[in-house]
């Protein structure tokens, strides 16, 4: 059986109303309390002091827990109560001293003088020890426990109990030696304790038992009850309870903290998202403002242009009236400030253009005006002419052939020559010409068609005559190119023979050198253009041009210029 547990169980039993438990407890520790009281205050006061100590125990029974040492507490209470009694009762001081002296005298005859000298310091020495050591000495010497009982009561082994008692005695001896009693040994300390222990007289025990038999246990309600329950817990239970109690607000605050943090983070993210959105929006706005500025500038410019255009429109309308009045006035005069003049249609029919159309079939501006063509009429006529030219070119390409002919009536020495000839293409020209004539007559109407038709018959190079190539139907045509030397330079002659008619043109051979050749004619193209205006048809002109380029490269290609 564990005595210390028993002390706690007895106290708990007392707190729950078991008076016998307190009596048993008092009997167990009365000797300890009584011996201490006797030593401090003498026999006369010992009973009173013991009664006060156990009264205090009864009152404070709630504050003891399983881990507390009741003997240690009783010893300290007895010492304190005795000291209090001694200080409070001045008139009894002498008697106390006498009593102490008598006590010493009574004990002295068989003890040594050293023990008597140490007795006044014993309580101070015991109080200087650690609680466990003090308890061990009190139980061993004042309650007469065996080492086994001591170990059992303190929850340690017998050997440990023996060591703890020995250690406590050594410390107590050391305490005495520090106070000038240099010869004090462990044995002397043990003897001192044995001598100071005194069993309470049976009468005292009986008296106190009767006195406490009527003592009611302390009320254990309200805070006192809670305190009693609190004190009845072990340290581990106590720590666990505290932790359990403390964890709630901690968890609560942790939850609050976590929630607040999460909310703050969400709001921060939301704010950041909005900031980015706003930045994008601001960028859009800046771009829009820039575009707006440009548009405003454009608008101002356009409105300014529109304003000028309106003014120009009015001026133009006035100008048109003025021009019309001048051109169609009965008193017509040369209009100095006008880009147009009028001529009679009868005069227009006598005017020639050499030519009125390009070799590609595009009407020259003068021809368009001379025929008074509207833009639509011009498009139709040019389309018909170009179709006709395409048909003739196709026929010429199909019939062209080279010859060995040389130029007629050329006085110089010919170094090389080339000639191509196209025979009369009666059927092809006839068919295509009829188609073109029909088209032109349809677009131009009778009056203008007569003018064009007249040109065709009179001059092959006038007006629209060149594109009809009437002579091609009955006259073969030929182009001859030859190379000769004059004044040390190689020149080219080209003749165009249409029937009996001959046109001749000359140029330096350098004109036909490649474009990047240093000796090339600075302003080439004159003879190339002349070939067309001489009436040479494109198939012949192209072949002559190719031959001349080859000759120029062969004859002048290695020269750096002449």
């Amino acid at each position: 059986m564990n005595d210390r547990q028993t002390d706690f169980e007895l106290l708990r039993g007392y707190r729950s109303g078991d008076q016998s438990a307190f009596t048993a407890l008092m009997r167990r520790h009365l000797d300890l309390v009584y011996a201490t009281a006797v030593r401090k205050a003498g026999d006369m006061a010992a009973q009173e002091i013991a009664q006060d100590v156990f009264s205090a125990l009864a009152r404070k029974s709630w504050m003891f827990g399983p881990d507390d040492s009741l003997p240690a507490w009783l010893y300290r209470a007895a010492v304190l109560e005795a000291s209090h009694w001694l200080r409070g009762e001045m008139r009894r001081k002498a008697r106390e001293q006498t009593a102490i002296a008598e006590g010493l005298t009574m004990n002295a005859p068989e003890e040594s003088a050293a023990v008597n000298a140490l007795l006044p310091l014993l309580d101070e020495g015991l109080l200087s020890l650690r609680e466990k050591e003090r308890t061990a000495l009190l139980l061993r010497f004042y309650e007469g426990r065996s080492l086994r009982e001591l170990g059992s009561g303190m929850g340690i082994s017998e050997d440990t109990a023996q060591k703890r008692v020995a250690t406590a005695l050594e410390k107590l001896a050391g305490f005495f030696r520090k106070r000038g009693h240099r010869t004090v040994s462990v044995a002397l300390s043990a003897a001192l304790l044995e001598q100071s222990a005194a069993a309470a007289p049976a009468a005292v025990a009986t008296s106190l038992t009767q006195a406490f038999a009527q003592l009611a246990p302390p009320a254990a309600g309200g805070l006192l009850g809670l305190a009693a329950r609190w004190m009845s817990l072990t340290k581990v239970q106590c720590a666990g309870l505290c932790c359990a109690v403390a964890i709630v607000p901690v968890l609560w605050e942790a939850n609050v903290w976590h929630t607040t943090k999460a909310r703050a983070q969400i709001l921060t993210l939301e704010s950041e998202r909005l900031r980015i959105t706003n930045a994008e929006l601001q960028a859009d706005i800046d771009a829009l403002r820039s575009a707006l500025s440009i548009s405003q500038t454009t608008l101002a410019k356009t409105e300014d242009e529109a304003s000028k255009a309106r003014l120009g429109e009015r001026h133009y309308a006035d100008w048109k009236k003025r021009v019309h009045n001048k051109l169609f006035s009965p008193n017509y005069q040369w209009p100095e400030d006008c880009p147009f003049v009028r001529i009679s249609k009868s005069l227009a029919s006598t005017i020639q253009l050499f030519p009125g159309v390009s070799p590609e079939g595009v009407l020259l501006p003068e021809m368009r005006e001379l025929l008074g063509l509207s833009p639509n009429e011009r498009v139709q006529i040019e389309s018909s002419i170009q179709q006709h030219l395409a048909r003739l070119t196709e026929a010429m390409e199909a019939n062209i052939y080279p010859t060995n002919d040389t130029p007629i009536a050329f006085g110089g020495k010919i170094l090389a020559s080339a000639s191509w000839r196209i025979p009369a293409l009666s059927a092809e020209v006839q068919a295509s010409t009829e188609q073109l004539q029909q088209d032109l007559a349809t677009v131009l109407g009778v009056e203008r068609w007569q003018i064009v038709k007249q040109d065709i018959h009179r001059y092959s190079s006038a007006g629209l005559g060149p594109v009809f190539k009437q002579d091609l139907a009955s006259r073969p045509r030929q182009g001859i190119a030859w190379i000769y030397r004059e004044n040390g330079e190689l020149d080219v002659g080209i003749s165009s023979l249409i029937d009996q008619g001959t046109s001749v043109a000359y140029s330096p051979l350098r004109e036909f050198l490649p474009e990047d050749h240093p000796a090339r004619e600075q302003q080439p193209g004159s003879l190339t253009a002349s070939m067309r205006w001489m009436g040479l048809d494109e198939p012949i002109a192209q072949r002559l041009e190719k031959w001349l380029k080859e000759q120029a490269l062969v004859r002048l290609g290695d020269q750096n210029g002449i």
């Binding site: 609190w230 106590c238 720590a239 309870l241 505290c242 109690v245 403390a246 607000p249 901690v250 605050e253 609050v256 607040t260 943090k261 909310r263 703050a264 921060t268 939301e270 900031r275 706003n278 601001q282 859009d284 706005i285 829009l288 548009s295 356009t302 529109a306 255009a309 120009g312 429109e313 001026h315 133009y316 100008w319 019309h324 169609f328 040369w334 100095e336 880009p339 147009f340 003049v341 001529i343 009679s344 249609k345 005069l347 006598t350 005017i351 020639q352 253009l353 501006p365 003068e366 005006e369 001379l370 008074g372 063509l373 833009p375 009429e377 011009r378 009056e447 001959t502 046109s503 000359y506």
Partner: protein, 298 residues
């Protein structure tokens, strides 16, 4: 005391932890408030910016519409371009065609007349002077009045007479040989040619003004050639008879050369017409050769 110490330690620790959480929570709470304030501020800014964006888009759309309308209007005002063209008296061909089209002038809308640009007149092949007389066609084309006509003729007659006298004095005849029937040359005299040219151009400028005088001169190449204006080289010709055909090898005073068959309608070399007013026939008579039969009809 031990249990109280443990309890105190536990409670104190708990209190400290709670205080720590509270402090941290308070800090986060402040962060939350700050973030909320920032968010609300951003939301306000966002609303403001959205409103601004919408307003600008509307304004921009409106302006673009206005620009589009103005540009459409400009496109419709084709006269604005033509107006600038109409300010000029010498317009490019494409512009002339555009203007004529806009004026509505073409063969079918202008009655007995035809409206043409001044710049085209230069290209019309219509001689201005025959011998010394202004041809009616050029008079009509340049709206030359009878008084102006008479004044011009006075000048041309004076120049032609002076040139004829000079040509007769300076012509060189080479004796025909072999198949060569006739060979003549006229030496180039730049001073004399320039004086005639100046007289003609200054006279015409005074009578017709700059525009018409320039056009008149442009159509007077035949006359000028016939009176030696524009001489740069010696003019010569050599007439040859080959296989009953008359061929001419000619170098004009302008520098051009040609070798061609002569027909009855072929022009007599202009520089020599002052010496041979009768053309081919007079030359044949002078050099004692017979023209081919085809010339008999001339």
């Amino acid at each position: 005391m031990n249990k109280i110490s443990i309890a105190s330690a536990v409670i104190l620790t708990a209190v400290l932890i709670v205080l720590g959480f509270k402090t941290s929570a308070r800090r986060w709470d402040l962060e939350t408030q700050s973030a909320r304030a920032e968010t609300e501020n951003q939301q306000l800014v966002s609303v403001h910016l959205s409103e601004e964006h919408r307003r600008l888009e509307e304004e921009h759309g409106s302006i673009k519409q206005q620009v589009s309308t103005a540009e459409e209007f400009l496109r419709s005002l084709k006269g604005s371009t033509l107006n600038s063209l109409s300010m000029r008296t010498n317009i490019p061909p494409a512009g002339a065609e555009q203007l004529l089209s806009d004026l509505g002038y073409n063969w079918n809308t202008t009655g007995d007349y035809l409206v043409v640009s001044k710049s085209s007149l230069a290209a019309f092949s219509i001689p201005a002077i025959h011998h010394t007389t202004v041809i009616p066609g050029i008079s009509e084309m340049l709206a030359i009045t009878p008084d102006e006509n008479a004044a011009i003729q006075q000048i041309t007659e004076g120049i032609a007479g002076e040139y004829a006298a000079w040509a007769k004095e300076h012509i060189q005849r080479h004796e025909p040989r072999g198949k060569v029937l006739a060979k003549y040359a006229l030496a180039f005299d730049p001073g004399f040619s320039q004086s005639l040219s100046n007289r003609l151009s200054q006279g015409l400028l005074a009578i017709l003004g700059p525009e018409r005088s320039a056009l008149f001169i442009g159509h007077s190449s035949g006359f000028m050639s016939a009176v030696g204006i524009g001489f740069s080289k010696e003019a010569n010709f050599e007439l040859t008879l080959k296989s009953e055909e008359l061929w001419i090898e000619q170098q004009s005073s302008g520098g051009g050369k040609r070798v061609c068959l002569i027909k009855e309608y072929s022009d007599f070399p202009g520089e020599f017409r002052a010496v041979f007013p009768g053309g081919w026939a007079e030359l044949a008579e002078r050099e004692h050769f017979e023209l081919p039969k085809s010339f008999s009809t001339k």
